[in-house]
């Protein structure tokens, strides 16, 4: 591997690494706007100018690759600093400087670099700034708004639609100082990945219609998480303010979603706001007048009651869903084993195929739930009663006890007909974060955390186990389901009380072959499971074909 010296730091890099990346590896930041690791090199923002081998003419670091040994790069010489100051001035002379009303403020490339490389005063004092009258609020598509006045013409968005989404809706129009970004007539920016252009826009020119004016970004608490929109399992940053989720942004994972995520995934958190929340444990019981009434109940009493019901029941079933974490699913299976429940139907839902491009050919998923594979590995599903028996058949009518571990397993959980079918069980227990029609019909409704409030492991379409962490704790009496299930399991098997997720995962790894040898601390890119049917390390081989079914709509399977 060739060596390269950047500001006296000599490192070895792969041949062909460009200088921006090489410098990053050496711990030197080279400022840049138009460069993006997944987009073609255009070298046009000129912010990444560096001095090469002491030469007089500066070179754009993004367009120089390390090919031979001993390249000398400097970013700390006066020539480079002067050029950076010059470029910053050029960027800012025509920029509106409307930071107080700009969504990008706080995460803006212009603000950051102006602070670091710019100067505190303007020499552009007697001229009028260039503006694009009438182009301040142009909807490029349903998700993206353009304010041309703020644009710095880096063309990242244009290249994204040409090179990543492959849809090419955006173009670079006009010339010189009048250059602008836009869509072609009658062709809106409406591809499934369109909001990514907002993420890669270094300034506030492109803003998201969903996030626009929702929050000042410096108030956002940003936590790593996983999108629950489908079984691709895009790595995301969940950004919330005081437990109000404001947006999802993609988090880089080269093996899965790379730098991208789809527009649908970005809106999935809105379900947490639109559906009513199940806030406290409650049960249905006969009141003094003999009428059934719903009353609050404490957790201990609720779990004790559930233990009794499980002990007494003649025939029980525990239904899980692909929304559960693998740990939750495994604990459910443990409870079932401890109480001789044989029927563990797994409710799954098919959605449209969603494809996220990455450098290995992309990942496609068509489950509408994030963790069908993890739930299956943990022991849900299998022989016996199927989800179809429950939801479309009359299987519940034969049950003394039915536990549905997810009150929002799909839209069917809100369907009165389905709820009525499930309600035919003698005693219906529902876990869930949503106060769905199903939860309201339950004899015992137990409030558990949303995926934003809990930690756990999802197994995506590639059979890759990925960990996510709670972004914020659940409010009030709501508890993470894994904690509740551990407490319930403790009522049958000693030693589960207060078990941490680490304990649960470690026990699971001991017992479930697919997870054998996995440490609780999964690598940041996740771990490909050794499962028959998975094709480790060849991500392109998994994908749409693996499960078939590209139709939209809800299906159920055992």
């Amino acid at each position: 591997m060739p060596t390269v010296t950047i500001n006296d730091r000599t490192i070895e890099v792969d041949r062909g690494t460009n200088l921006v990346e090489a410098a990053k590896q050496a711990g030197v930041q080279i400022p840049h706007y138009c460069y993006h690791p997944r987009l073609s090199i255009v070298g046009q923002c000129r912010m990444c100018l560096v001095q090469l081998d002491g030469g007089a003419k500066l070179a754009a670091a993004c367009s120089v690759n390390v090919e031979k040994d001993g390249m000398q790069v400097r970013t700390d010489v006066p020539e480079v600093k002067e050029a950076q100051r010059g470029m910053m001035e050029f960027f800012l002379i025509n920029h509106p400087l409307d930071c107080p009303i700009c969504d990008q403020a706080g995460e803006c490339g212009l603000q950051d670099y102006a602070f670091k490389h710019g100067q505190a005063y303007s020499r552009f004092q007697y001229e009028d700034k260039r503006t694009y009258p009438g182009r301040e609020r142009i909807p490029l598509g349903p998700n993206v708004l353009l304010n041309m006045n703020r644009c710095i013409q880096c063309t990242r968005c244009v290249r994204f639609t040409r090179e990543v989404s492959g849809t090419g809706e955006l173009g670079f129009f006009n010339r010189g100082a009048r250059t602008e970004i836009g869509v072609f007539p009658g062709k809106p920016l409406d591809n499934p990945l369109s909001t990514n252009v907002v993420d890669i826009c270094p300034v506030g020119a492109l803003t998201s219609t969903r996030f626009r004016f929702a929050e000042r970004v410096w108030y956002l608490d940003k936590r790593p998480s996983i999108c629950t929109g489908c079984d691709v399992g895009c790595n995301i940053t969940m950004e919330h303010r005081r437990a109000n989720i404001r947006r999802y942004k993609p988090r880089h994972n080269e093996a899965v979603n790379d730098y991208w995520m789809c527009d649908y995934g970005r809106e999935t958190f809105e379900r947490y706001e639109t559906l009513p929340r199940l806030a406290a444990p409650r049960k249905r019981q006969a009141g003094d007048d003999g009428e059934m009434e719903i009353v609050p109940v404490g957790w201990t009493e609720a779990l004790d009651e559930l233990r009794e019901r499980l002990r007494m029941a003649g025939r029980s079933a525990i239904a899980g869903s692909g929304n559960l974490t693998t740990e939750e699913a495994w604990l459910l299976a443990k409870v079932a084993a401890a109480t001789d429940v044989a029927d563990l139907p797994l409710i799954t839902t098919q959605g449209p195929t969603r494809t996220i491009p990455n450098t290995h050919g992309g990942v496609s998923g068509s489950d509408a739930q994030p963790n069908r594979r993890g739930a299956e590995l943990a022991g849900l599903g299998g022989d016996g009663m199927t989800a179809a028996d429950l939801l479309q058949g009359d299987a519940a009518a034969n049950l003394d006890l039915l536990i549905v571990a997810d009150s929002d397993f799909s839209d069917a959980a809100h369907d009165p007909e389905v709820v009525e079918r499930l309600r035919r069980a003698d005693y219906l227990v529902v876990f869930g974060w949503a106060d769905s029609a199903l939860a309201r019909a339950a004899d015992l409704a137990l409030p558990v955390a949303t995926h934003a409030e809990k930690s756990g492991t999802f197994v995506n379409v590639q059979w890759r186990a990925q960990r996510f962490e709670a972004a914020f704790p659940p409010a009030g009496q709501i508890r993470p389901a894994a904690e509740v299930l551990a407490d319930l399991l403790d009522r049958f098997e000693e030693g589960w009380e207060g078990a941490t997720l680490n304990d649960v995962f470690t026990r699971m790894a001991d017992e479930v072959p697919a997870f054998a040898g996995l440490d609780f601390d999964l690598p940041p890119t996740g771990s490909l499971l050794n499962v028959p049917g998975s094709v480790p390390n060849v991500p392109e081989a998994t994908g749409a074909g693996a499960d078939g079914g590209s139709e939209s709509g809800t299906e159920v399977s055992g």
């Binding site: 046009q44 500066l58 367009s63 002067e82 470029m87 670079f172 010339r175 100082a177 250059t179």
Partner: protein, 433 residues
């Protein structure tokens, strides 16, 4: 000095536009000779001649041809740069309108030398007459068997196409031209890779100016040694077309051995018009620094001497300015051109040319501030060398010379609060009052 015209020998002989007429006047002897030589020998002959590119950069043509890799297995291309768009340039137009076969012959020899079977002549879109003449000449050359599957019976296959631009100066930049040729937005590519390695349609490509290629038949026919004997020294050889415009009695295209003193060129044009004094001249097109007339009156007009004087030969578009010329207004007009023609891709050129135009216009209007001259100079340093292609540097050329050489005129504008030169009304026939 009696100099027998070489490049312009067929000007005034309209019959030379056809293959027959051109042959009668001695044409296609160079191509016939070249096709009997090895391609490498042709390149060596051009190297011997010392021919440097006539488009502006002055890169040795033979050397450029030798950079084309022959072992890639890819198609190779010659693109002739006929996108002559800089203010004051009109030499290539003359060559195409009056001697199209000479250009076709030059292109054919170059194609043979680098073993390219396809040649595109990218012509400025406004050159409709030159385009029609070239199209006609190419058709004639096909009919006469000069072009086609069996060029002059040699077995060498050569196809030639005209491609008209759509009105952007930036498409005269070689990679911008390739983008435009490929049907994309005309904006320069990041270099390297250079076109000799990855050019048109991802293939090795030679790009030469019209005048450069027009020299080639004569080099092959009469030998590189003969060619090298013309001009000032071994680095500045051959005949050169000078497109003289501005305040002279007879503006036009003049052919001289390269390195002709400016004074001789001016005399050939009948001197400064209306008996006025020479104030300054631009030796090499809109992007060259302005030279004061008195100091550089006898400057030999070749690549190296002009570079030493702080300007450049460029495209040899000589613009002469008399004593009534306001330098600030002239440079403001040039800045307007570059601002208008900047492709908008890279930051220093997009923003810098715009800023320079605004500043210069304001100074010209008499609203300048004392600090504006140093601000202009600083903007120049920020653009210069930092832009993606040469257009940024080109835009800086005249502005920098204004600040350095005619600083006092800026000061005068600022001090007077008005332009000290009378406004020149220009009538529709182009004559100034």
């Amino acid at each position: 000095m009696a100099f027998e015209p070489i490049l312009t020998r067929n000007v005034g002989h309209p019959e030379a536009r056809s293959v027959d007429g051109y042959k009668k006047r001695g044409g296609y002897a160079g191509l016939a000779k070249a096709l009997k030589m090895e391609p490498g020998e042709v390149i060596d002959e051009v190297k011997t001649s010392g021919l440097r590119g006539r488009g502006g950069a002055g890169f040795p043509a033979g050397l450029k041809w030798s950079f084309v890799p022959q072992d890639t297995g890819k198609e190779k291309y010659l693109v002739c740069n006929a996108d002559e768009s800089e203010p004051g340039t009109f030499k290539d137009r003359l060559l195409m309108e009056h001697d199209p076969q000479q250009l076709i012959e030059g292109c054919a020899i170059c194609c043979y030398a680098v073993q390219a079977s396809t040649c595109y002549i990218y012509i400025r879109g406004e050159y409709t007459e030159a385009l029609a003449i070239m199209e006609e000449a190419i058709k004639d050359a096909y009919d006469a068997g000069i072009l086609g599957d069996n060029a002059m019976g040699s077995g060498f296959r050569l196809n030639m196409y005209m491609h008209a631009g759509a009105g952007a100066y930036i498409c005269g930049e070689e990679t911008g031209m390739l983008e435009s040729l490929e049907g994309k937005r005309g904006q320069p590519r990041v270099k390297p890779p250079f076109p000799a390695v990855i050019g048109a349609f991802g293939s090795p490509t030679v790009i030469n100016n019209v005048e450069t290629l027009a020299n080639v038949p004569h080099i092959i026919e009469r030998g590189g040694e003969w060619f090298a004997g013309i001009g000032t020294d071994e680095r500045n050889t051959g005949p050169k077309l000078y497109a003289v415009s501005g305040h002279v009695e007879r503006p036009g295209t003049y052919e001289f051995p390269i390195g002709v003193p400016f004074s001789e060129l001016l005399d050939a044009c009948g001197g400064v018009w209306r008996g006025r004094e020479l104030k300054a001249y631009i030796p090499g097109g809109a992007s060259a620094a302005i030279l004061p007339g008195d100091e550089f009156y006898d400057l030999p007009m070749d690549f190296d001497q002009i570079a030493k004087a702080g300007s450049m030969l460029g495209s040899a578009a000589v613009m002469v300015m008399d004593e009534t010329t306001c330098m600030v207004r002239s440079v403001a007009r040039l800045a307007k051109f570059f601002n208008h023609e900047s492709c908008g891709q890279c930051t220093p050129c997009r923003e810098g040319t715009n800023w320079m135009e605004l500043l210069l216009t304001r100074i010209e209007k008499g609203q300048g501030r004392p600090q504006d001259a140093s601000l202009l100079a600083n903007i120049c340093t920020h653009i210069s060398g930092n832009s993606l292609c040469a257009l940024g540097d080109a835009a800086v050329g005249p502005v920098k010379s204004l600040v350095e050489t005619y600083f006092h005129e800026i000061e005068q504008h600022v001090h007077d609060g008005a332009c000290p030169y009378p406004e020149i009304r220009v009538f529709s026939n182009g004559q100034a009052a």
